[in-house]
């Protein structure tokens, strides 16, 4: 059990999301940085889909009410346990009474904005419609379907095996960086209405760095740049959409749908961020800029395989460490 001591709001319980519920109007939710969540679970020997706390406003503090192994991944937020600094992407054991403090993310060797606090065994809340992720719009999942509050006591399941601590992983932002002209980039595939935009709009879509405005959250990132204009006004019928879809409302300022996106929409879609790069965008800080890099289906398949290989290597390294230490 842990207790929330300090939160700036918008910290939620998330796993890898809810599948198969869009036909009832329920979106996928899930961690904005799925690689970071899976990595924290790999460090702890949890199931990779185990639920953790996603934190996006700092400082954030929890007290451990019992001994517990934990890992903090995602943004490097200068974590301290009872004022002793912890390396980022590290698995550690806390004693009952220990205070974990996560500060404002350091924008040092990699830039990121969301941290994941993973606990041995995973956060123990009942799955709702197949997932423990918080569904803010529907007010279910996670802790009462809402963001965490000071005083919330959060249980974790018991770990299935002894958890070894004192090791970490090098984050994928360092081992798999992606930039265009030194601006962080994500790969995208053109979507249904791409050809309906003027040539100059299509060119500026690819060419300009898009600013992530403060009106950006788990629902969507509202971007700012030279407006994108269709050759003629577009009114569409409502249809299913997925996280990563880049919609363009009539203002011409695009909105990238993120993990809490509505499951359907009707604004024109110029393109879609590939699933394998959504973690990159999910970590992009407000006020930073991002470039869209056109990709092909085959390249997108390779990108997905690269993520899978990265996770497989993380599992292998964690397994090697456990074998060596366990053999001592």
């Amino acid at each position: 059990m842990i207790e929330v001591v300090s939160t700036g709001g918008l910290a939620t319980v998330q796993d890898l999301g809810r599948r198969g519920t869009q036909k009832w109007g329920v979106g996928v939710s899930g961690a904005m940085d799925d690689l970071a969540l899976s990595s924290g679970n790999i460090l702890l020997g949890n199931a990779e889909n185990a639920a953790a706390i996603e934190i996006q406003i700092f400082p954030f503090q929890v007290r451990f009410l019992q001994d517990c192994a934990f890992a903090v991944t995602g943004a490097d937020c200068g974590a301290t346990l009872d004022t002793v600094p912890l390396p980022p992407w590290w698995v550690q054991r806390a004693k009952a009474g220990g205070l974990l403090h996560l500060g404002v993310p350091l924008q040092g060797r990699w830039k990121a904005s969301r941290a994941y606090l993973c606990l041995a065994g995973g956060i123990d809340v009942p799955p709702v419609l197949g997932s423990r992720s918080t569904q803010l719009r529907g007010a279910f999942g996670g802790i009462e379907g809402r963001a965490l509050r000071v005083g919330d006591k959060i249980a974790h399941a018991s770990a299935t095996a002894p958890v070894l601590t004192g090791f970490g992983l090098c984050p994928p932002a360092l081992s798999m960086p992606l930039t265009v002209d030194e601006v962080p980039a994500v790969r995208v595939l053109p979507a249904a209405e791409y050809e309906a935009y003027t040539q100059s709009s299509r060119e500026s879509f690819w060419r300009q760095p898009w600013k992530i405005t403060p009106q950006s959250d788990r629902y969507g990132f509202r971007l700012e740049g030279e407006p994108l204009m269709p050759s003629a006004p577009i009114e569409l019928r409502s249809h299913g959409i997925v996280p990563g879809v880049i919609q363009v409302p009539p203002s011409g300022q695009p909105i990238v749908q993120m993990r809490d996106a509505q499951p359907s929409g009707g604004y024109p879609k110029i393109a879609t961020v590939i699933e394998a790069d959504l973690w990159r965008l999910g970590q992009a800080p407000i006020g930073s800029r991002v470039r869209f890099l056109q990709t092909s289906w085959d390249e997108a398949v390779l990108a997905s395989q690269a993520n899978s290989r990265w996770l497989a290597e993380a599992r292998r390294l964690a397994g090697l460490y456990r074998e060596r230490v366990g053999a001592r």
């Binding site: 869009q22 109007g25 595939l189 979507a191 409502s238 879609k269 699933e275 398949v301």
Partner: protein
């Protein structure tokens, strides 16, 4: 969507969007329901989500190639016979205008109709649920009179309350919970549309019907 053949486009690496040809209509929608039932049985498809005369199909696993899935969808569409659904009828009293209908004047401005006419035209048909989407329990309805069609808002409103009755383009619907919306809210009603602890969690399903009645018009 015009032309005779369906259009299939990509939603990134997660899904395909199948757009039926022709105008929005019940017969086409009944074929979309048939296509959804069929596609959900395919191992390569994780979920089939009906929209308004379209269907989104999510991939169970990232496919190496798309052409086989596309061909299978086209063949299944050709074979899809309309499924007529005799759904339930739910009556919803609506207060048009006022605090609960903050964008009704935009619909007045766009359509050049008065608020009483808009309420009358909006509450006249029996609307059939074509699809669910947007947020938990929300229903997309077919059958709105095109005289009150009004384009979606230039910038979405960040928060409109549950029970809001709104018009977006040629469609109308009722918000099931508080949240952002790009549609024009013309009135409000009260109904619980979703409970995650009930199976199925949504009150209404495709084929069910809604009858709006005028509780009041606030000018």
């Amino acid at each position: 969507m015009t032309g005779d053949s369906p259009r299939i486009t990509l939603l990134g690496t997660s899904a395909l969007l199948f757009d039926a040809p022709g105008e929005v209509g019940l017969i086409t929608q009944q074929r979309i329901w048939a296509l959804a039932l069929e596609a959900e049985r395919w191992p390569e498809i994780s979920e089939a989500v009906p929209g308004m005369n379209n269907l989104m199909v999510g991939f169970s696993q990232l496919p190496q190639r798309l052409d086989q899935i596309e061909a299978r969808l086209r063949a299944a569409w050709e074979a899809a016979a309309p499924i007529p659904v005799e759904g339930r009828l739910i009556e919803l009293p609506v207060v048009y205008g006022g605090v609960g209908g903050p964008h009704v004047n935009d619909v007045v401005a766009h359509t050049a109709l008065g608020i009483d006419e808009i309420a009358q035209i909006h509450s006249a048909p029996i609307y059939q649920v074509y699809a669910l989407g947007s947020h938990p329990g929300y229903c997309y309805l077919g059958g709105m009179d095109q005289r009150i069609a009004t384009p979606r808002r230039k910038t979405p409103a960040l928060r409109i309350p549950g029970g809001s009755v709104s018009i977006g383009g040629s469609q109308t619907g009722v918000s099931a919970s508080d949240g952002p919306s790009g549609w024009n809210t013309i009135g409000s009603t009260v109904m619980r549309f979703f409970d995650p602890m009930i199976d199925p969690p949504a009150l209404l399903r495709p084929g069910d019907c809604i009858q709006f009645t005028i509780a009041r018009v606030i000018r």
